[in-house]
């Protein structure tokens, strides 16, 4: 698909949309330039198509939307509202307690929910796990992201259950999916790929409407919709293996446009195949009653460890 100045197919002058207006983006994976209006239309159409294709939502669903206040989750909330489906949306923010980082995004989450008229609930690590992330980092020498990830996932699932939701929407974008696949392969943990597709009543069904939208497009959409962007790395992000994989994937995408879509499509194929073989029994945690694969869930193990 070519969409450039006049009839030229030269990418270097492809700074106009086919409608003649100035482009806001050039999609390297399709050789296509789009103006603001056509980019937003394409973006919303794609989210709607993914929601339908993967049967993510149906009439009457009560959906908890994980809204950290970052661009992905705020755009997710806007997109779900834009879909105008007969579903109920409730935004949930998990406050990890990271000073100088989370306060601003909490404000953004609040502001966006108010703007869209969505009910907003905030849950804190301190209340659930007894400690803030900053306190955990001071005490534990292990990689903080593993604590943060386990506690956040647990709290989101529990919040969704407590609020009577049957769906949990999260803002994972195309880049996140690609990074997750590469990380699982590099760590030799392929079975983790299938976990999301296992249906179990104890876990609120997670949906990822932005999973086929590149992160850069999410950012442009956010800017065009005047959503405030967080301009800071999590102070603990340098610990994360993900940062390394992100750079690798971005470098490859620049040289070989379309790579992220191919990696993500591989993820979805593997998720289906591996998910079928994930037949492990889901137990109830002896301490909190939440679903887990052993007698005590990872969250309670971590919480007990933190209280020592």
């Amino acid at each position: 698909m070519i969409c450039v100045n006049g009839n030229s197919t030269d990418k270097r002058i492809a700074d106009k949309c086919s409608c003649g207006n100035a482009a806001v983006i050039f999609l390297h994976y399709t050789n296509r330039a789009l103006c603001e209006k056509h980019f937003i239309e394409m973006f919303d159409r794609r989210v709607g198509r993914i929601v339908r294709e993967f049967s993510m939502l149906k009439k009457g669903d009560r959906v908890v939307v994980g809204v950290s206040g970052g661009k992905d989750s705020c755009v997710l909330l806007h997109s779900l509202v834009e879909l105008n489906m007969p579903v109920e949306l409730i935004a949930v923010t998990i406050d990890e307690g990271i000073k100088g980082y989370r306060e601003k995004t909490l404000k953004t989450a609040k502001k966006e929910c108010e703007k869209l008229g969505i009910e907003h609930k905030i849950y804190s690590f301190k209340d659930a796990a007894g400690k803030t992330m900053d306190q955990i980092i001071k005490e534990k020498k292990e990689i903080p992201c593993s604590y943060c990830g386990v506690i956040r996932r647990y709290m989101l699932n529990k919040a969704a259950k407590d609020l009577g939701a049957n769906k949990l929407a999260i803002g994972h974008n195309l880049d996140d999916i690609g990074q997750t696949l590469l990380m699982n392969i590099m760590r030799n943990e392929p079975l983790r790929i299938g976990r999301g597709s296992v249906d179990n009543n104890e876990f609120v069904k997670r949906i990822r409407p932005l999973m086929k939208t590149p992160e850069k497009e999410v950012a442009i959409y956010a800017m065009l919709k005047k959503i405030e962007l967080d301009r800071k790395d999590c102070p603990y992000a340098h610990f994360a293996f993900r940062s390394h994989v992100r750079k690798l994937l971005n470098e490859t995408e620049e040289k070989y446009p379309g790579t992220k879509f191919k990696v993500a499509n591989s993820y979805f194929e593997m998720e289906k195949t591996i998910g079928k073989n994930c037949t492990g029994k889901i137990e109830k945690c002896n301490e909190c009653g939440q679903p887990c694969s052993e007698n005590i869930c990872m969250f309670c193990k971590m919480k007990n460890d933190l209280l020592v």
């Binding site: 990418k11 270097r12 002058i13 492809a14 700074d15 100035a22 482009a23 806001v24 983006i25 050039f26 330039a33 603001e36 970052g70 661009k71 980082y101 880049d175 590149p214 992160e215 850069k216 950012a219 442009i220 800017m223 065009l224 962007l229 967080d230 301009r231 800071k232 790395d233 999590c234 992000a237 340098h238 994360a240 993900r242 940062s243 992100r246 750079k247 971005n250 470098e251 995408e253 620049e254």
Partner: protein, 62 residues
Amino acid sequence: MELVIDNKKKKLKFSGTLGELLRKLGVMREEVVLRVNGKIAPETYKIKTKDKIEIIKVVFGG
């Protein structure tokens, strides 16, 4: 042209597209959004002498 990158301003002489400018500066296009004279623009935009270019980092770890 005037360039704003990481909130720092500088004057620069450059002839080419925004994409070529990013390559020269060693900035990954996947991690930034570009603004020309206050409006979002694609990497394919040809820079003009009096343009004000902003390179905004949008991909963060967290």
